[in-house]
């Protein structure tokens, strides 16, 4: 059973619907105990980093996520869920969970044809193999919607990159945690493959 962490972040039902379609058992839960005891966790999100951290703290989901991470539960972060596993976000100058060292930065371009947010389909380039990405092929495109991007301190954490004005980390990972800046639940068949890959992953990954 996958626990989808409910902290009032926008795309929770979309993730649930995608898992239902794939016949992968899941449950949306705001309960820290369920998160700590989960077999597997998806940490989704759309919204503002500061608002997200506030709800996480109110529900004690911040410590629950840290505990689950430390005990080796496979965790998938999505979008804001990816940004706030880093130490800090420029969005609202917010201190975040710090499961992976690094910060989340805002896009800033001199070229006005590069619009912010980065909305739409973009291809990723895989830098390192990972069990969850095993069925993703070069050139596969995913759906992105974001104005901030993850910037881990250690480049070893970067599994895949994407180009939009700059080259930024599209997938990051550390031990039993993997996180995507894009939305697999809105990325058509390739996104569903990634979710399936996560549902089969035992959480082990040698960096």
């Amino acid at each position: 059973m996958i626990i989808i962490v409910d902290y009032e972040a926008g795309n929770i039902t979309s993730v649930k619907r995608a898992l239902d379609y794939l016949n992968i058992p899941s449950k949306i839960s705001p309960d820290p105990d369920e998160v700590i005891n989960a077999e597997r966790i998806i940490f989704p999100g759309v919204g503002h980093a500061a608002a997200a951290m506030k709800v996480l703290q109110q529900r004690k989901l911040d410590t629950a996520l840290k505990q689950a991470f430390l005990k080796g539960t496979p965790i998938l972060g999505i979008c804001i869920g990816t940004q706030i596993i880093l130490s800090h976000s420029e969005e609202g100058n917010t201190n975040c969970l710090g499961l992976i060292d690094g910060e989340c930065l805002k896009f800033s371009f001199n070229d006005k044809s590069l619009k912010i947010p980065h909305i739409g389909w973009n291809s990723i380039s895989i830098q390192k193999n990972h069990p969850v990405l095993k069925s993703i092929k070069p050139g596969d495109e995913f759906y992105f919607v974001h104005s901030y991007y993850p910037n881990p301190s250690d480049s070893k954490s970067v599994l895949a990159v994407c180009d939009y004005g700059i080259t930024f980390a599209a997938v990051i990972a550390k031990t039993n945690l993997i996180a995507t800046q894009f939305h697999p639940e809105k990325s058509g068949p390739v996104g569903l493959k990634l979710l399936t890959g996560f549902s089969q992953w035992n959480g082990s990954y040698a960096e």
């Binding site: 039902t13 759309v46 495109e141």
Partner: protein
């Protein structure tokens, strides 16, 4: 590099698919969920559903359609038509739509854009604008006027000004629909699309007039559009999503392969 998006527009009336031509003489041509699923499998990048149901009694049928679409297709889609309040928008969002689409209600009450943007996030708010070309005047310096009620009501608002205002109020994307071109299949209004795309820094989706793959090429290059909306060229089986995408790819447009 970001791909240009090909978005299919599905007009839904009483839960059935319809395609309007110049906003009159609509006729039902199928089931929106079946059609949406087919386009999804063929590689459409995004979908837009406009609820053109006349009676508000039947609005809940649309919520059922949205919910069914959301459980079967896994690409972004937006829903518009008859959304007048933040509550209306939230209902559609909770039913599974990635984005909401406001048009006339936003002209009548621009605060709706801000309120929806604050509640759902700017990325979830699409401002759709129906535009009619008019003689250049001091009131309409661009020669493009915002109209409502499917083109029947002139608002006296300049389209370029409205686009900029929409962005400022919190819209995350704009759909620029040319009433002059809509249903003609003679091509998008390139000049209008480019003027708006150059005036704002949010994505612009061109709408109205797409009849051939070449039209999409024109609006995605000369028209500076980030995405193009298509309807009848797909609905009547004249082209497949793949044919359109192949045409654009061959001409160097970055398009998502499926």
């Amino acid at each position: 590099m970001l791909s240009k998006r090909i978005i299919s527009c599905l007009d839904v009336r009483n839960g059935k698919l319809a395609k309007s031509v110049k906003f009159v003489n609509t006729k039902d041509i199928g089931d929106p969920v079946v059609t949406a699923q087919k386009y999804y499998e063929y590689g459409i990048d995004e979908l837009v559903f406009y609820d053109i149901t006349a009676s508000s009694d039947n609005r809940n049928i649309m919520i059922d359609v949205v919910s069914e679409v959301a459980s079967k297709i896994f690409i972004p889609f937006s829903v518009g038509g008859g959304l007048r309040t933040v509550e209306d928008c939230t209902k559609v969002r909770l039913a599974g739509a990635e984005k909401i689409n406001v048009n006339t209600a936003a002209v009548n009450n621009p605060d709706l854009i801000t309120a929806a943007s604050q509640t759902l996030g700017a990325q979830a708010v699409v401002l759709s604008m129906d535009v009619l070309s008019v003689p250049v005047s001091s009131q309409i310096p661009s020669g493009y006027q915002i109209v409502t009620h499917g083109g029947r009501t002139q608002t006296g608002i300049d389209a370029i000004e409205w686009a900029k205002k929409g962005e400022k109020l919190g819209a995350g994307e704009l759909v620029v629909n040319s009433i002059d071109a809509d249903g003609t299949k003679n091509g998008y209004e390139i000049n209008l699309t480019r003027m708006i795309a150059d005036a704002v820094s949010i994505p612009v989706i061109a709408s109205g007039g797409g009849g051939k793959p070449q039209h999409l090429y024109e609006v995605l290059t000369e028209g500076h559009a980030d995405a193009a909306l298509i309807a009848s060229m797909l609905h009547y089986g004249e082209y497949t999503v793949k044919q359109i995408k192949d045409y654009l790819k061959q001409r160097g447009i970055k398009i998502r392969s499926t």
